[in-house]
């Protein structure tokens, strides 16, 4: 187990280094620092202002090798954009935003709360709705209820999330006037009013795929021998579904859950943007729209880290869910 973990983490570390190199090519080699400066300062900025901005933001270094006068020894390699990029990312010193000079780490910390306040209830409710509905249709499999829910799931999966968002805002916020169309308030006493609609929209937009996936898992399990045995022993249908089928179907469910958990921190791009929630999803969208390259590469890096961590956690979770599994 330990050897497996060390190997798995080493692969992860190598992947991180690879991701960082790709980020370097994208954000430094393809995009010229002059262009980054011009986008940050606007078209009216003069050459001296651009040069000063590059100095202030550390973009005035050479890409790979520093051959400037006065530079000697290791500094030829360390006083470069490549080295500085790796150093900053690996030490989580993300520096300052290209757009407004604010410390990126602070912005991430500020955004994590609002993101989690949306993604955690969305995740938990989505899971409850998905699993419950899947158990329900698996229980009533091959009846018209199963058929109706499956068709509903297919329809739900076929609609783009943007339509759910705009439709939800129009129908529930604008026509029915149940909740505010958008907005946020950090006050815990009132935040639920603002989160109700995005959570509802998020659950509705996601239930189709989740329900279909979980239903497949449950239906496959219900055909197995141990289920027949449980029934033969006189177990009630609900007990069979909840105590036996659900428990044995945990591995694929866990895969889904554990993979999703790290991404709770990176927020929901469109939901946050349309509902005015100041989380990390919004931060990413803003970085894209505002040409804030330093924030954007940090968010991409964090996303990649979240993915790698999610994969490792998934592997570990298998052994927890099923003691027969041995990682080697």
């Amino acid at each position: 187990m330990l050897a497996y973990l060390v190997r798995r983490i080493s692969y992860g570390a190598l992947t991180v280094l690879g991701v960082l190199f790709l980020l370097f090519i994208l954000f430094f080699a393809i995009t010229n620092p002059d262009d980054i400066a011009r986008k940050a300062l606007g078209e009216k900025a003069g050459p001296d202002v651009i040069a000063q901005w590059k100095t202030n933001h550390g973009y005035d270094r050479p890409l790979l090798f520093n051959n400037r006068t006065g530079v000697s020894g290791l500094a030829h390699l360390t006083d470069t954009l490549l080295f500085e990029h790796y150093r900053r990312m690996l030490t989580f010193d993300f520096g300052r935003s290209d757009a407004d000079d604010a410390p990126i780490a602070q912005r991430i910390l500020e955004g994590a709360g609002p993101s989690l306040s949306l993604t955690v209830p969305l995740f938990v409710l989505g899971l409850i709705v998905g699993v419950t509905l899947a158990l329900f249709v698996a229980f009533f499999r091959e009846t018209y209820i199963d058929w109706i829910v499956l068709v509903g799931c297919m329809l739900a999966m076929s609609v783009a999330i943007l339509l759910y968002i705009i439709g939800g805002q129009y129908l529930i916020g604008m026509q029915l006037k149940w909740f505010p169309i958008s907005g946020y308030d950090p006050n815990p006493a009132v935040v639920a009013r603002f989160l109700a609609l995005p959570v509802l929209v998020g659950v509705v937009s996601g239930f189709g795929a989740d329900t279909r996936f979980y239903r497949t898992v449950f239906v496959e399990e219900t055909g197995k021998d141990y289920v027949r045995t449980a029934r033969a022993k006189g177990c009630g249908e609900i007990r069979v579904m909840v105590r036996h089928v659900l428990r044995n179907a945990l591995i694929p469910i866990l895969t889904n859950i554990v993979m999703a958990i790290p991404f709770l921190f990176t927020g929901a791009l469109l939901l946050e943007s349309f509902f005015g929630i100041p989380g990390l999803g919004s931060l990413t969208v803003e970085a894209i729209q505002g040409n804030d390259f330093s924030t954007l590469r940090t968010m991409v890096y964090i996303g990649a880290l979240a993915f790698i961590i999610g994969q490792i956690l998934t592997d570990i979770s298998y052994t927890v869910a099923d003691p027969r599994i041995r990682l080697s």
Binding site: G42, K44, D101, P103, F140, T143, Y170, W178, S182, I277
Partner: protein, 667 residues
Amino acid sequence: MLLTAAAGLLTLAACSNNPYPSADEDRKILYTSFQEAPRTLDPAVAYTTSSSVITGNVFDTLLEYHYRKRPYELIPGLARQVPEGRANADGTVNYRFELRAGVEFHEDPCFPPNAALGGRRTRHVTSADIAFQLMRIADPAINSPVRSNFSQVVGFAAFSKRLAEKRKLDPSFDGRPADAQYAEVGGIAGIRTPERNTLEIVLTHADPKILYWFAMPFTTPLPKETVAYYDGNQGRARLADHPIGTGPFILTIYEKQFRMILDRNPHWWGLADSKAPAVVLPVEGDPEDVSSGTIDKAYLGRPAPFLSRVEFRREREGIPRFNKFLQGYYDYGGIIKESFDAVIQNDRLSPLMRARGMRLDKSVEPSIFYIGFNMDDPTVGRAGGERSRKLRQAMSLVIDVKQYLELFLNGRGVPAQSLLPPGLYGYNRDYRNPFRKVDIDKARGLLKEAGYAGGIDPATGQPLRLTFDTGNTTTAGKLQYQFFINAWRQLGLDVELAATNYNQFQDKVRKGSYQIFTWGWIADYPDPENFLFLLQGAKARSNGNGPNTANFKDPDYDRLYDAMKNRTNDAERGRIIAEMLKILERRRPWIELYHREAYELSHGWLKNAKPTGLFSTPFKYLDVDATARAKSRLAWNQPVVWPAYVLLILAFAAIAPGIVTFYRERQ
């Protein structure tokens, strides 16, 4: 399950879509939105629309724009009067500002308690605070985008240079307070503070345009205490996020990811001097803004401010912002293209919007959008002589801007006859550019005279091949360029669209490898010079990254520009401008397209919201009828609960027979 559903329904019944606390319902709070967070609120650096809504209301300036007069006119703000230049024997020119006495900065922990002001943490403004801010603009480390605009101040550039050199030579120098550094390098020779409330600016030559910069927050008084205190260390905010000014509003909450709140300054100088020009809502001005209801007649001559608070909520997307405006939760806003036809019909508000008491205000922005020719290009530029000129004239004659505006901008623009927009000195509403109307026959004739009969290039026997370069690769952008290309195709010209990403386009511009392009310009200040300089030969892009991207160089134009640029708006200046426009009319380095028009929607309860165009809205003049607003909001936003019951019944009706059947079969 039923209990849960019932609880859900009961909760729903208590729900409301009101995003604000109900306790604020009757307060004089202006609610508006912002899409993009300000990048910085440091007045030496902030230069975007998103920041100016805050800096324009938190910082007072020595001069201000008259709220109701167009063309724009300067009035005294913190200064007692608008100064006039006084020539010195050595050719330099002095502008002397006399400041109002007794103006206080906003209360803030950066100041020590002031016994003279009742122990409040503030102090009076002096001319040294403005001098300090001007030195910050000159400071290369601040990197102010307007540094070059003050180069005519005596000793301005030399100060920047001395400061940079001193920092380079002595690394410990940079660690000292900014004001100490500035004093040590000797300050700026052309910025003097002979008395506590007197500021003198000495220019190398007469330049009345300098006064416009004193109507912008760049030149606001800034206390050195704020700069020293708000350094971003030990939990303190950064100056970029914590503006301390003297204005009628104080930024009390700045959570720029989702809300910003401006509260009325209880110690604003205008409260004690309620007759000052910058305090009173002007009686004189454009009569149409009163007759149209934009300005409420009852407010004329009354001292501002009228609001107690301005609350901005962040709306990144247009659709929710507009829907909340329709619900009455925002007091004013723009129109999104998705709803344009529902809101505007026959160029006025739709009956539905009028029935809700809304108002539409239009204003032409001081801007110009144009198609430019690279005059360094051998085919379309000056090397082609008369031939190229006639080609440019012919191409100008087939662009139907009115149709373009209808197709792509919902008609929001004024077709341009010259580069000067309405509202600026030198703009002549009766002027008709003979090459800015659609005349295909004349265009074909000119093309024939140019040697390209039917658009055929005699050198190849094929249609003349030209390239339209753009840095916009979006489908919407390409469609717009295709509109121009199709127009030129009517002449038989083969114009190819070279759409690259913005960086590659910039690179092409830097290298001069482009033929035709499109660009726009929004004025910094309301002077014709701020448009005419875009075609000055010395500012050609090929001469070192100047703004003259067309690389237009005409000795007559340049001579007239020099004669015009520093003149006051007298008859001679008007004559010179007309002559310059005639040169552009004939030589056609640009095809002038349109001046952008802003459409602003507001609810009937919002008072005095006149579009400002060039400067940010001074919230001090605005007011809301909070009672009328609360009444409308209540009427427009009653929750509709019955669909929840219907949904519940439908769900039950769909599932129940299945459950019954299932159990019956199992038994």
